[in-house]
């Protein structure tokens, strides 16, 4: 699974690519682990840019939930942004849209998590 990340002050924006299914979910988990450690405690957080994710299975959603719990324990937040229509439906049907913060765009998510990061995000 392709995976890239960028940092904007106290917010990391990470962008997985492709299908997050039973065979690739482990790669997502492995890629997220160091980012969860890098995210500053007590502020900011992690934004997952899902613009290039075209499917996510229950295993992938569970990984997001575990990540959210870890982030909450550190006083930080996790958000998911820019869902493709099919993925947005999966979030709605699974009710994950009610337990994770979901935003229409990455910019909206960054703005919600950290005004300081938004300025950096807009500058780039």
């Amino acid at each position: 699974m392709l995976f890239s990340s960028r940092q904007f002050v106290d917010v990391i924006v990470a962008a997985p690519v492709g299908r997050i299914n039973h065979s690739s979910a482990g790669e997502l988990e492995g890629a997220l682990a160091p980012l969860l450690e890098q995210t500053p405690s007590g502020k900011g957080g992690l934004v997952l840019d899902f613009a290039a994710v075209d499917y996510i299975s229950s295993v992938g959603l569970r990984i997001l939930m575990v990540a959210a719990k870890q982030m909450r324990a550190r006083g930080a937040r996790i958000a998911v942004a820019a869902l493709q229509p099919v993925v947005a439906e999966i979030f709605a049907i699974s009710r994950f849209d009610s337990v994770l913060e979901v935003f229409p765009s990455v910019r909206d998510a960054v703005a919600k998590l950290s005004p300081a990061a938004l300025a950096s995000f807009d500058a780039k």
């Binding site: 499917y55 229950s58 295993v59 569970r62 439906e89 999966i90 994950f96």
Partner: protein, 319 residues
Amino acid sequence: MKRIRFWGTRGSLPVSLTAVGVRRKLVTALRGASGRVFNSDGEIDAYLDSLGMAVAGTYGGHSPCVELETGGSEYVLCDLGSGLRPFGQAAIARHGPSSPQTYHIFVSHVHWDHIMGLPFFTPAYIPGNRVHFYGCHPWLEAALRRQQENPSFPVDFSYLRANIEFTVLMPGKGYDIAGMNVTAKLQRHAGDSYGYRFESNGKSVVYTTDSEHKLADPAETEGIVEFFRRADVVIFDAMYSLAEATTVKADWGHSSNVVGVELCQLAEVGHLCLFHHEPANDDEAISRILEETRRLEEITRTRAPMHISAAYDGMEIEL
């Protein structure tokens, strides 16, 4: 096997429609009928059919009891929830009280909602009948006896005058019972539960309730997929949403519609039947979940379409 007949489909606790719920359905139906003219019973039926289960029906409230009609003369049931009572009454109405019958009952586990129907199962009180219980828990017989002990119930188990038998099955081993090949599989649930795969005459049905499928372990997932493999029907515990099963209700021992679709797609199942409905969900909620599950199957489909239904008391599935 010829068909599946559902006598109890609700999980955890039996429920019933309330007067308020019936009135709400009537108001919706009458509002929809305003200005219409019905010239025959057929037109009335067609109108009611168009309203769907949320308005013109109900998923019902008995706890789990599912009949597998084998085509033979002996009855086969999965679980003895409160749905066992109407099943027993129907069997007596069909044969009369003095015509001995044989009942094979496979028990997923002995939590109360899955055994509460036995004290009200009239055929078990009638001499000459044969009631044969199968399960993988060694304490199956003790649990059934205990629920009828004083002070929990006024009629002791010893008053069951039918020929009562118990057989403890070994998971993973195939058994020939009532003309079918039956295999049990251990499932994740408090105190353990067991799913059953039934095969006969080229048809296969999997009854898998009270099972939490986390799908976190690939080997475990593959084992479940093999158990489901190309089954004609999988009767699946879809009690919670995936979000509930992953958060506040994690480790409560139940699964979701989303996991049901994924496992059945992987196993190339023909028909996924949502079962063990959450008691807090009314008919509108279950209908909505059914539609969403069908949509999920549609947008994630990689092979032939899979039929999806939501079980209701009285529903029949032809095999």
